[in-house]
C-alpha cells in the first residue's frame, strides 16, 4: 500500500465563509450511523445547507471545485474522519485556509488531502476572488509551497513532516510504520507496563 505522490493540485475553488467551522457542521452526527464512508458526500454541511439556500455547497457554479478555501480553525471539534471523507468524496482534493484544527489536519493528511495555510489577508482575498470568478483555475504547488491564483502567487505553509509525506507518497502511514519491523516489539519490551513491571 504505497500512496500516490502529490506534488500539486489544480482546479477550481469553492469559498466557505466563517471561522471555527467544526466537524459536526461538516457532517452532522446522525450521518455517522454507518459502517463505511460511502455516500457521505451527499450529506456534507447538511444542516448549514438546509438553513442557508445560498450555502456554497448548494451553488451550481461551484460544482466540480477541487480546492476548498476556508477561514480560521477549520475542522475543530470531533475527530470524525467522516468529515474529510465527506469533503473528499464530494470532490475536494486540497484545502487552503487561515488555520486548521490538528486532528482534522492529520485526518486529511492520512487520506491524501493536503491542508495548507495562508495569511488571514490572503485567505480573505482568495475567498473573495473565487466568489467573483468561480471559473478561475487555482494551483496549489506543494514543492514551492505556493498558491497560484490568476496573476498572484500566495505563500502557503504546512508542517514539513506532512509536506514530505505528500511529496514522497508516504501519507498513507500503515506501510511506512510496518517497515520498522521488530523494532516495534523491541520498543514495547522496554516499557514496564507492557512487561508487567
Amino acid at each position: 500500500m504505497t500512496s500516490a505522490i502529490i506534488r500539486e493540485i489544480t482546479g477550481r475553488g469553492i469559498p466557505l465563509p466563517g471561522d471555527d467551522m467544526d466537524t459536526d457542521r461538516i457532517i452532522p452526527g446522525r450521518f455517522l450511523r454507518c459502517v463505511t464512508f460511502e455516500g457521505l458526500e451527499a450529506h456534507v454541511f447538511a444542516d448549514d445547507r438546509q438553513q442557508n439556500p445560498d450555502h456554497p455547497f448548494n451553488q451550481e457554479r461551484y460544482r466540480g471545485a477541487s480546492l476548498l478555501i476556508v477561514g480560521r480553525n477549520f475542522g475543530c471539534g470531533s475527530s470524525r474522519e467522516h468529515a474529510p471523507q465527506a469533503l473528499m468524496r464530494w470532490g475536494i482534493r486540497g484545502i487552503i485556509g487561515e488555520s486548521f484544527a490538528e486532528i482534522f489536519f492529520a485526518n486529511c493528511t492520512a487520506i491524501g488531502v493536503p491542508c495548507v495555510t495562508v495569511s488571514a489577508e490572503d485567505a480573505r482575498w482568495l475567498r473573495e476572488v473565487v466568489a467573483a470568478h468561480p471559473e478561475m483555475e487555482l494551483r496549489l504547488d506543494l514543492e514551492t509551497m505556493t498558491v497560484h491564483a490568476g496573476d498572484r502567487r500566495l505563500a502557503a505553509h504546512m508542517p514539513e513532516g506532512a509536506r514530505r509525506q505528500f511529496l514522497e507518497g508516504t501519507w498513507n502511514s500503515t506501510f511506512v510504520l510496518l517497515e520498522a519491523g521488530e523494532a516495534i516489539e523491541r520498543t514495547a519490551a522496554q516499557l514496564p507496563y507492557v512487561t508487567g513491571f
Binding site: 500500500m1 466563517g18 471561522d19 471555527d20 467544526d22 459536526d24 457542521r25 452532522p28 452526527g29 446522525r30 455517522l32 450511523r33 454507518c34 459502517v35 463505511t36 464512508f37 444542516d47 448549514d48 438553513q51 480560521r72 480553525n73 475543530c76 471539534g77 470531533s78 475527530s79 470524525r80 474522519e81 486548521f100 484544527a101 490538528e102 486532528i103 492529520a106 485526518n107 492520512a110 487520506i111 514539513e160 513532516g161 506532512a162 514530505r164 509525506q165 514522497e168 508516504t170 498513507n172 502511514s173 500503515t174 511506512v176 510504520l177 510496518l178 520498522a180 523494532a183 516495534i184 520498543t187 514495547a188 522496554q190 516499557l191 514496564p192 507496563y193 507492557v194 508487567g196 513491571f197
Partner: protein, 467 residues
C-alpha cells in the same frame, strides 16, 4: 537535564525517526468504539493484515446505544448494524469487548480509567477527540481519525510530530459551587478555541494538585476544545490511590514497582516549557456558554460581551453565535428559560458529578415543561450511584434515570433536542446542531448548574441554591 513528562514518555515510546521527520510512536493503549472503527477494520481486511497487539486494544459500545431500552436488536437498524460490526470485528481479531450488560460497558473515556486500563506514562489513542481525558493520569492521550485507527491496529504505532508544551498553572482554592468544569471553561475562554493548536497542555498548581481524579478527568477532557490534542496532569499520590486495586492495574508487589516508575515519569522540577499561563482559582465563578463554541462563555453573573469588547477577528463568529442562539449583546444568562436538562457525557457523568447534581436536586422537583435526564457514564457508575440511592433522588424530582452511553452529548442515538429547544448540558460541545437538532441550542455548564437550572426552569447561579 530536567525533562518534562512529555519529553520522557515521548522518548520511551519512540520506535524510530521517520524519513518525513516525524516520530514513529508506540501506542501503549488503544481504545475503540463502534463509530470510528468499522472502516478501519474494513481497510485492515482489504490489506490482509492482522491486529499487531490485540491485547493492547479494548473496545466498548457507547455512541449509538439507546439509553432507555438496550434490548437487542436496537430499534435503529443502523445502530444495530454498527454494533454487530464491532462485535464481529472484536471476535475476528481477538480484541476484548466490554459489551452491554457485561458490567463494564460505558463511555470509553469513563471505563478506561475506572477499569485501571489507563495508567501513567502510557501513550493512549482512540478514535475520539475526548481521548485527552486520560491525560488526567499522566499519560499522553489523544484523539485520532479512522485511518490512524487502522495504523494502530496494524502496527500499534502512529506517525506523529512532537507538540510544544504549555504549562497551565491554577493556584488557590475553588469557591463553593465552582467545579473543574468551570476551570476548563475559563481556561478555554482566555486562551481561545484554537489557542492550543500545536501544543500539549500540562496542568499544574495547587488547585490541580487538590483535585480528585474525576475532577482532573473533566479538566483534561475538554483540552481539545481549546485546540490542544493532549492535556495531562503529572501523576501523584491521588493518581496512585485511584488506581490501586482496579481490575487492569498492576496488583500486589507489581503495583509498588509501578508506583516507583510512575513517580519517575512526572515532569522534573526545573524542566522548561515553551509557554506558561496562570489562573487564580479564587476569582473563578460558575461558567455558562452563550455561543456556538466552548470558548464563548461567561461567568454566570456576567453579561454577554458587547461587540466592542470582542477582538475584531472574533466578531463575525460573535454575531453568528448570537444570531443562532437568539441572545443579545450585554444580556445576562441568569433567567434564560430552558427546555431540556442533560446530565451526562465523558466530561461529567462520573459518580462525583452525579453526587454534585443530586445534592442540588434532593427534595426538589424539576420545573414544569422541562425534560430532564441523567445518563450515567458507565454501568459501574450506574451501579455505584444506585447503591447510594442517587437514582431515586433524581427520579423523585422528575429526572429520567437512563442507561449508560454518550446520549444527548452528540445526539447519535434517539436522545436528541427537538427544534429550537435550549438545553442546559453538562457535556462538552455547544456547536450548532451538536445535540441532534439542527437548530437546537446548548448551554454548557457544570452538572450542579444543570441540576439547578432543571429545578428552576431557567439558568440560575448554583451558589445561591447551595447557600
Amino acid at each position: 537535564m530536567a525533562e518534562t513528562l512529555l519529553d520522557k514518555v515521548w522518548r520511551l515510546h519512540t520506535v524510530r525517526e521517520l524519513p518525513s521527520g516525524q516520530t514513529q510512536l508506540f501506542i501503549g493503549l488503544h481504545l475503540i468504539h463502534e463509530v470510528t472503527s468499522p472502516q478501519a477494520f474494513l481497510m485492515l481486511r482489504e490489506l490482509g493484515l492482522k491486529v499487531r497487539f490485540p491485547n493492547r486494544t479494548f473496545a466498548t459500545i457507547d455512541h449509538i446505544v439507546p439509553t432507555d431500552s438496550q434490548a437487542r436488536p436496537f430499534a435503529d437498524w443502523l445502530a444495530e448494524q454498527m454494533t454487530v460490526a464491532l462485535v464481529k470485528n472484536c471476535q475476528d481479531f481477538g480484541i476484548t469487548l466490554f459489551d452491554l450488560g457485561s458490567g463494564r460497558q460505558g463511555i470509553v473515556h469513563v471505563i478506561g480509567p475506572e477499569l485501571g486500563l489507563t495508567q501513567p506514562g502510557m501513550t493512549i489513542a482512540c478514535g475520539d477527540s475526548h481521548t485527552s481525558t486520560h491525560g488526567a493520569f499522566g499519560a499522553l492521550a489523544f484523539g485520532i481519525g479512522t485511518s490512524q485507527v487502522r495504523d494502530v491496529l496494524a502496527t500499534q504505532c502512529l506517525a506523529m510530530s512532537k507538540p510544544k508544551l504549555r504549562r497551565i498553572l491554577v493556584e488557590g482554592t475553588l469557591p463553593r459551587g465552582v467545579y473543574a468544569k468551570d476551570v476548563i471553561l475559563a481556561i478555554i475562554r482566555r486562551l481561545g478555541v484554537k489557542g492550543g493548536v500545536g501544543y500539549a497542555y500540562e496542568y499544574a498548581g495547587s488547585t490541580i494538585a487538590a483535585m480528585t481524579m474525576e475532577e482532573r478527568m473533566t479538566l483534561c477532557n475538554m483540552t481539545i476544545e481549546g485546540g490542544a490534542r493532549i492535556g495531562y496532569v503529572n501523576p501523584d499520590r491521588t493518581t496512585f490511590e485511584y488506581l490501586r486495586g482496579r481490575p487492569f492495574a498492576p496488583q500486589g508487589e507489581a503495583f509498588e514497582r509501578a508506583v516507583r516508575w510512575w513517580q519517575q515519569i512526572a515532569s522534573d522540577p526545573g524542566a522548561t516549557y515553551d509557554d506558561e499561563v496562570r489562573f487564580d482559582a479564587a476569582t473563578l465563578q460558575p461558567m455558562v456558554t452563550w455561543g456556538i463554541t466552548p470558548g464563548q462563555s461567561v461567568g454566570v453573573t456576567e453579561p454577554i460581551p458587547e461587540p466592542e469588547e470582542v477582538p475584531e477577528t472574533e466578531r463575525a463568529a460573535y454575531w453568528e453565535a448570537l444570531d443562532f442562539m437568539s441572545f443579545r449583546p450585554g444580556q445576562r444568562l441568569i433567567g434564560t428559560p430552558i427546555d431540556v436538562a442533560f446530565i451526562g457525557s465523558c466530561t461529567n457523568a462520573r459518580l462525583s458529578d452525579l453526587r454534585a447534581a443530586a445534592e442540588v436536586v434532593r427534595g426538589r422537583k424539576v420545573a414544569r415543561g422541562v425534560r430532564a435526564l441523567v445518563v450515567p457514564g458507565s454501568e459501574a457508575v450506574a451501579r455505584a450511584a444506585e447503591a447510594e440511592g442517587l437514582h431515586e433522588i433524581f427520579q423523585d424530582a422528575g429526572f429520567e434515570w437512563r442507561k449508560p452511553g454518550c446520549s444527548m452529548c452528540l445526539g447519535m442515538n434517539p436522545d436528541r433536542l427537538r427544534g429550537r429547544e435550549i438545553c442546559a448540558s453538562s457535556s462538552n460541545r455547544n456547536f450548532k446542531g451538536r445535540q441532534g437538532s439542527p437548530t437546537g441550542r446548548t448551554l454548557l455548564m457544570s452538572p450542579a448548574m444543570v441540576a439547578a437550572a432543571a429545578i428552576a426552569g431557567h439558568v440560575v447561579d448554583v451558589r445561591e441554591v447551595l447557600g
